[in-house]
Amino acid sequence: MKFSKNILLAGVGGQGTILTSKIISNGFLNAGYDVKMAEIHGMAQRGGSVTTQIRVGESIHSPVIEKGTADIVVSFEKSEALRWVDYLKKDGILIINDYSIEPFTVSLGISSYPFDVVEEYKDKIKNTYVFNAFEEAEKLGNPKVMNIVLLGAIVKCLSLEDIDWKKMIAESVPEKHLNLNLKALETGYKSSVG
């Protein structure tokens, strides 16, 4: 079967989902595939939910993924996958960053946060992998590279080692942060995920 993947990233504005998606998409394009990436800008920077979708294959039409067809859903914030989990195909992979950002609606008591959600993911989705990319990034010295830690986990889960991710990262981040980002990639790749 020809190579094709549907990748869905879910998170909260400011978590770096869009940059991660750009790196992934450029990696695929560089490897000679057709690739389309959908994102919605606008109010994303204001702490709202954000999703980006990447489709790669020989010939891609729709930039958006259909329900039940994502090979992998990556939740940068642990509750955000709840909005997108039905896009995951049967036997698809769910990566959960065990990190929560409680919106003010929870602090104000007008909405509740599903604190036990990780258990439910594990219970109902066979290929659920949970790890704390935020902690890993903090250990490296900067929590902001959490997204690249997650990228490392994606590369591992989808066996995308043939693509030159280091080059893609080098093209996307300032030079002074390159080493840190490369370490983050390695950390994600060597994590327990997958």
């Binding site: 909260v12 504005g13 750009k22 998409s25 450029n26 394009l29 057709d34 690739v35 389309k36 990436m37 959908a38 994102e39 919605i40 800008h41 606008g42 109010m43 994303a44 920077q45 204001r46 702490g47 709202g48 939910s49 039409h61 729709s62 930039p63 958006v64 259909e66 329900k67 039940g68 067809t69 509750s79 955000e80 709840l82 909005r83 989990v85 039905d86 995951l88 195909k89 049967k90 409680e102 919106p103 003010f104 609606t105 929870v106 602090s107 104000l108 007008i110 909405s111 509740s112 946060y113 599903p114 036990d116 959600v117 439910e120 993911y121 109902k124 989705i125 929590p143």
Partner: protein
């Protein structure tokens, strides 16, 4: 080599390659990145205009002079630019003129989902619709050729999904055509009734020529596969239809939707067994096709409201429901967009919210639209750009005219700096000239924030980064006729003076203006300056009364083990609004003070 570009980046690139020399825009999602990208090219003139009408007129003036030009805006921006857009259709172009409209099926960041293809038939101009980034680039170049060849405006219609999807693009060379001579010709360029009467038939004749062109251009193309099903589609719907039906259907892809290729459509209809018309929002093509006596399936199957998706088409065309869910019972928390940590609007809304039961808050378009949400609930009406000041006046006049026993709410108008420049000034003139006793609050965060930080006449920086003279909002307010004693300028980080200003505004019996001035917390220089400024909760003093949490600041979080509030140091910029509302002095400022 191909590169990935969003539709917006590709539109900018297409304009550059087409040799555009002058372009103007007002920011608005999902169109903003067109000008952001175009302004980075060399040897072009690019600007942010105060509003879409001005942007369109600048582009029209450049076209009359004989160079290629464009104006870009979101769909509702074309309403603002509708006056010149409708009239200039009679002038034709001279140098090529393209008006880019970015429509929003699904309304991710808009107040309506009007379908601007209808403007093209209304104004009698050409309308093109790309379906991916490569077409954004290619069609943009073709749009200028059409504009010049047929002496017409071209409306270039995008939708959010095309604007914001990245797809591969092959770049080309920039070719700047020779400037067309400008020849004085009042019969073509001065649209008084005598001239308009002569121009209208010219435009009608032009449309007939354009219809012939539409029937032969590559912008409209037929792809025959299985002829049992024929699909006429446009824009992103074409991509979805191909995704779902592949070679199990034939396609007529419409890239030029006004005028429609009538003969091509009639031939296609004859060659397929069942004909579908798949278009988001209005039955723009379907209505015309049916008027030619052609039977087709359209809006009786596909919705008018909202954005399409491949699974929607799969369900409607093939009767296949989306695959089953995982049956997860947890639900995600409600995560609406919020005013950022350190947002200068927070202090204002915190104080304003206290007048909720005594005042009517007429809002406007910007980050501060979020003031309608809890915990503030201090926006009661939002219509369109610039409406706040004028609608507050109408509310006040109705207050005065209504029967005596009716509750009278004091009207406040809330408008941001960019929106004030956009279309608030005329409302303010009306307020003072007609002596309407309302209070206008201009929330000056010194940037067009919501769309991602574009400069405006109040910032002193142009679209290409050059330094220019700031327009003073307070001088403008005074020039509009507000008395100096009825103008107050406050720092919204300072709750005491903000409270005092609102009280004055509430009690004012004359037209009154408050300017709340503090730069957007996300501006790079502000972030650098305040990087080490933080607030911190002393857990010993915190009684968990949540007064601070009720300011709605996302940096304030709850430690569920200790039942104390703590402050996320990554988000906090030390604005100290929480500190000022804490009744137990449990919050202190740390880091450098400036």
């Amino acid at each position: 080599m191909k590169i990935l570009m969003t539709g917006n980046e590709a539109v900018a690139r297409g304009a550059y390659e087409a040799g555009v020399l002058v372009a103007s825009a007002y920011p608005g999602t999902p169109s903003t990145e067109i000008m952001e990208n175009f302004s980075k090219y060399d040897n072009v003139y690019a600007e942010w205009a105060p509003n879409e009408k001005v942007a369109a007129e600048v582009a029209m003036g450049a076209a009359v002079r004989g160079v290629r030009s464009f104006a870009a805006m979101k769909h509702v921006g074309l309403n603002v630019a509708a006056d010149p857009f409708m009239s200039f259709a009679y002038h034709g172009s001279n140098g090529g003129l393209v008006i880019v409209t970015a429509d929003e099926p699904g309304m991710y960041s808009s107040q309506n989902e009007q379908d601007n293809r209808l403007y093209s038939t209304h104004a009698k101009v050409v309308c093109l619709e790309p379906s991916d980034s490569q077409e954004c680039l290619d069609y943009m170049k073709e749009a200028f050729n059409i504009s010049e060849r047929f002496d017409t405006t071209v409306l270039f219609r995008l939708t959010t999904r095309t604007c914001h999807s990245k797809t591969p693009v092959q770049l080309g060379e920039r070719i700047v055509p020779p400037t067309v001579d400008f020849k004085k010709n009042s019969e073509k360029y001065v649209m008084v009734p005598a001239h308009s009467k002569k121009r209208h038939p010219v435009i009608e004749e032009n449309l007939l020529q354009l219809k012939n062109y539409s029937n032969t251009t590559m912008l409209n193309r037929i792809e025959y596969y299985n002829k049992k099903i024929g699909i006429i589609c446009n824009g992103i719907s074409y991509q979805y239809a191909k995704e779902v039906m592949g070679e199990n259907a034939s396609y007529l892809k419409i890239g030029m939707c006004n005028p429609l290729p009538d003969q091509m459509i009639k031939d296609f209809a004859k060659n397929v067994d069942v004909l579908y018309v798949i278009e988001e929002n209005e039955p723009f093509m379907e209505t015309q096709i049916k008027s030619w006596g052609i039977n087709c399936i359209g809006k009786n199957l596909f919705p008018i409201c909202g954005e399409f998706s491949p699974e929607l088409l799969r369900e409607k065309l093939l009767g296949v429901a989306p695959s089953g869910s995982y049956g997860i019972e947890s639900t995600p928390p409600s995560r609406p967009p919020v005013l950022c940590a350190g947002c200068p609007h927070r202090g204002l809304f915190h104080e304003l919210g206290k007048y909720r039961k005594k005042a009517f808050f007429s809002g406007d378009i910007g980050c501060y639209s979020l003031g309608y949400l809890p915990p503030f609930e201090a926006i009661d009406l939002t219509i369109d750009m610039g409406a706040s000041i004028s609608t507050a006046q109408g509310f006040q006049r109705a207050n005065e005219m209504s029967d005596k026993n009716n509750t009278k709410l004091k009207p406040f108008a809330l408008i941001g700096d960019s929106t004030f420049f956009h279309s608030g000034i005329t409302g303010l003139v009306n307020m003072t000239y007609n002596k309407t006793p309302i209070t206008t609050i201009i929330l000056d965060n010194s940037i067009t924030a919501m769309t991602g930080h574009q400069d405006n006449p109040g910032t002193g920086i142009s679209a290409t980064g050059s330094i220019t003279d700031k327009v003073s909002i307070e001088k403008l307010v005074l020039a509009c006729g507000v008395s100096p004693e009825n103008l107050v300028i406050v720092d919204p980080y300072d709750l005491g003076s903000t409270k005092e200003a609102i009280k004055k505004g509430y009690q004012a019996t004359e037209p009154f203006v408050i300017i709340t001035r503090r730069e957007c917390a996300l501006l790079k220089p502000v972030q650098i300056e305040r990087a080490k400024m933080k607030c911190q909760v002393d857990p010993e003093k915190c009684k968990f009364c949540k007064a601070c949490v009720r300011t709605g600041c996302p940096a304030l979080q709850i430690n569920r083990e200790t039942d104390k509030v703590f402050i996320d140091t990554v988000q906090c910029n030390g604005c100290s609004v929480c500190l000022q509302v804490c009744p137990y002095d449990a919050i202190e400022r740390v880091g450098e003070n400036k």
